[in-house]
Symmetry: C2
Subunit: 212 residues, 2 copies
């Protein structure tokens, strides 16, 4: 069966619990998944290490990577670039790891366009009320920030149907398991096993000929 890893993009509302979900998935199945590490031109924060949280690049280095098409996708927020270096992703896929990119919808759709085999997963709480109460529950955000997060969620929701699967995050433990099952199930898609099918067809033809 399909041995090469699958490229997976995970997006989701702020407050969907996506971060915790990813951390748990990677911890529980560390042999199966690799998290893509982004490149950025922003300065490292305290405790961040180059090649662990991010690949830290100068503006010149980053623009050189863009020019040489070394990034799967990139975007500029305010003053800084963020992007996904292709090399690391390719290496992990070749090694049979399923590689997870945590990016937002614009980037997700760009990746899918360039690599149609990409699996798009969207993490959502079961209801809007739940989303709202999780944002409030953090206790760290002002009402203005919460309102702006909710407005952003409304925008993001417009793209939900462009994703392959919805991951409804109501219970962390169940959700991690289901997400893992969905990804592993995808490895069995016929479209991801053309070589297996081809070999099967040819071996069966040879067998029939041998019998004649």
């Amino acid at each position: 069966m399909n041995q090469r890893g699958i490229l997976i993009v995970v997006s989701g509302f702020s407050g969907s619990g996506k971060g915790t979900l990813m951390k748990e998935l990677l911890k529980r199945y560390e042999q199966t998944y690799a998290l893509s590490i982004s490149a950025t031109t922003r300065n490292p924060r305290e405790g961040e290490a180059d090649g662990r949280e991010y690949f830290f690049k100068s503006k010149e280095e980053f623009e050189k990577m863009i020019a040489k098409e070394e990034l799967i996708e990139y975007a500029k927020y305010v003053e800084n670039y963020y992007g996904t270096p292709r090399e690391y992703v390719e290496q992990q896929l070749e090694a049979g790891k399923d590689v997870i990119l945590e990016i937002e919808i614009q980037g997700a759709l760009k990746v899918k366009e360039r690599f149609p085999d990409t699996l798009l997963l969207f993490v959502t709480p079961p209801t809007v009320e739940e989303l709202h109460s999780r944002l409030v529950g953090r206790g760290t955000e002002t009402p203005e920030v919460i309102a702006s997060r909710m407005a952003r969620a409304a925008e993001e929701a417009e793209g939900m149907d462009r994703y392959d699967y919805l991951i409804v995050n109501d219970n962390l433990d169940t959700c991690v398991r289901i997400m893992h099952e969905i990804i592993q199930g995808e490895h069995r898609r016929s479209s991801r096993n053309e070589e297996f099918i081809q070999n099967m067809k040819e071996a069966l033809k040879r067998n029939v000929k041998g019998d004649e």
Copy 2:
């Protein structure tokens, strides 16, 4: 999430172990799945009960069902009709059961055409050698029958890529679990959850409006 059942067609080579696999799946998850019961005009064999193994029909009754479009698909083998009554399938789907049809590729493709949401699963042994040795291993078939089964498999293999997923049957226990996971994962497809997405979009819009 998606509450309605999924219509599933399972096909596979003779000797793929499909029969045992289905029996085990239905036993292990009897609340989740329902096996579609075919209608046929052939005579009941000893031990077969109407409405259990088959719905036994006269030729006239069967042709009336065809005329009234009460069959999802049907075919004629030698002298007898075999078909899938729509009513039972619809009832089970409505009740939230995933309904399994065990039919061959011609019927499978007809069902998919009429009901594009149908999930097509193809059961295959891991290798052609394994397929051959399972047919030999039964010890009940003449070399001619085995050769004709293998020739039939070569024909059937031509349609393998029309199926959504391959179920490689190397170990019964693992295979039953994987098949179950694939089907349950399918319930999370965005395309099967349009209502959930629509509700989410509308609730988020209302929330933003309420804030203004």
